[in-house]
Symmetry: C2
Subunit: 415 residues, 2 copies
Amino acid sequence: MPKEGNCVVAQSGGPTAVINASLLGVIEEAMKQHPIRAIYGAKNGIIGLIDEELYDLRMEDPEELKLLKTTPSSALGSCRYQLKPFEHDEKDYIKIFNVFEAHNIRYFFYIGGNDSMDTADKLTRYAQKIGYDICIIGIPKTIDNDLVMTDHCPGFGSAAKYIATSVMEIARDAVVYPTNIVTIIEVMGRNAGWLAAASALASKDIGAPDLIYLPEVPFSIEKFLDDVRNIHKKTGKITIVVSEGIKDREGKYIADMSHKFGIDAFGHVQLGGAAFVLENIIREEVEKRVKSIQFNVLQRSAAHIMSKTDVEEAYMVGRMAVRYAVEGACGYMVAIKRDSDNPYSSSTELVELNKVANAEKLVPLAWISHDGNYVKEDALNYIQPLIEGEVEVKYEKGLPRYAKLRKIMVPKKVV
Amino acid sequence: MPKEGNCVVAQSGGPTAVINASLLGVIEEAMKQHPIRAIYGAKNGIIGLIDEELYDLRMEDPEELKLLKTTPSSALGSCRYQLKPFEHDEKDYIKIFNVFEAHNIRYFFYIGGNDSMDTADKLTRYAQKIGYDICIIGIPKTIDNDLVMTDHCPGFGSAAKYIATSVMEIARDAVVYPTNIVTIIEVMGRNAGWLAAASALASKDIGAPDLIYLPEVPFSIEKFLDDVRNIHKKTGKITIVVSEGIKDREGKYIADMSHKFGIDAFGHVQLGGAAFVLENIIREEVEKRVKSIQFNVLQRSAAHIMSKTDVEEAYMVGRMAVRYAVEGACGYMVAIKRDSDNPYSSSTELVELNKVANAEKLVPLAWISHDGNYVKEDALNYIQPLIEGEVEVKYEKGLPRYAKLRKIMVPKKVV
């Protein structure tokens, strides 16, 4: 017998272009599942549960909700709040379960990365401990693509598409003058270089990028200079992509060397990341005309150029989370299984939350070139289908029309 | 009687998303006009004429040429080369007219900004002086929208659309956490604030940006801090757009104050622009969580989100340049005339090159808010139609398919 009661959905961690597609999947499927009554959204992830700040999502205009499928960023708000182990500190857990009980919450869907899966796992175990009947399901989300136990993560494909497209456009811009130029593009990824790897897809356009550096391979400035000098001899126009997280053999982030290049007048100026450091090294050692570009938050929020595969999969994991839950699954994350490469097809499966929490999937070293400055065909074959398909974004007066929710608060009963 | 002979088209100055749409307009119209025989493209603008580096554009695959309409950056290459007045130095002119004569060039179309119109004007006057029969027409191009005598410039609408869309996406990303955050976005524009003004179109989404600063109004750091503090009191999340060219009452660029915030270890590190300087001031004075974002070359080359109005007008000015030339007009720039606002429609007219060269159209002060920190409805009404319409970009395997020209060189006869 499926549990009867209300559900809450929440979003956590850094936004992506498709995290709201997963949210829509949860809402639309929850509306179809009769055991589920009220559908609440927690404001700012787990913090909304602690503070009993819940939106009544059934009060939203269904047409506006549909726009969530192509709306970037976390519509419900997000957080980076980590629950302490309940064995040490039960305070937050007591608050959350008081809210669960007061609102008869029997389903909780948490869209997030590995920290969020850890949170979902802790709440599942705490519910078992106190004997509260609730079904908690994790829904994967991250542009970094670093969750284990899933072929890939919703959010990655769209970020990869944005990065490859933008690298194409920047490289075409860089070559127009007769002068030499080195362009260094920094993409996100502290430990996993998936996004940097995705930039290699751009190379089918006009051959850029020339060099790609991932955090998986220790970064040597000497080797980097050799790589750049070698290409500089042949062509004066070089495009380089680096992960923000590249570090040297001792594990020291290259980005942290920025103090060498700009001394902060106040004591805590952030001068920029890895690309900024490398820009200054190149300017000194190889080529005066050099610039660095950071894609910043655009790579995770540029919904105007999403991957259709990514949007549909994000929507699918949201819907499937609800179905699995109603069928009685509890304490799992909905993972994506790649069923076929050509034509590409995927489905979902359940993996245990605690196997995902706190683990990290890196780019296999076998997929990185021997020289450590590019990725191999295997990496491209893996990423290629994830960026495919274009999404029809709704435009109004020349600009994307993104969802505007009413966000009607549920009256508080506890806090 | 129309002149019979060959034509050359060239591109100059910074790229735009639609400069190749103008190039396509020239090529396609030249193919239809019987007096025009060979159609050459000069490599890297006027430099290609000096060095006699010409591509034979009739050798290109017509299907590939069609892709130019949605291909960013200058397909023929560009330059920032300025001709000296021929009264002082005839060297370059002699080379160029030798090339013109050797290849029987009777039409020259120059796509560029005000420097390029100056070049076209000088060549026109030199042709008259030496009695060489050639028709030279300027085709406007600039994302800065700062050419006079034309309602607006091809390139601006697409850059404006990119900026407004990206500001929407960044602002949505910035508000997801419960914490305060100030985001400062720097857009291009050394003297004219049109691109910064365009960001106000984003405000219809979720109210961002909160503040906009243009180079037209002297920038006061004290006033800026007051503006930010006022909003910070009400809401902790602030989005600010600044032109790269904002300067103080003495005309000193705010960007040039960056040395105050980072001392260069080598002597010539460029620490970033105006947004970087303001980021550090805000961090000290108002809010620790602050970041700056530069759109860099993406704002001029993101063809994946072009304005259809802009593309069609860029194509139109290219075609009309050829028609006007064959009809005998010479020494003019093809300007855009706004015929109607609602529904928007435009046509072309001819303006004298020397009236455009070396002049600059700024945002009227009457269109900037009294406080100097936003733009008024008049500015939005002017910009709105220019970003409208979406272009169907061709995608292949998930990425835009941009034109790849064969670039067959014409055998040299002179150099």
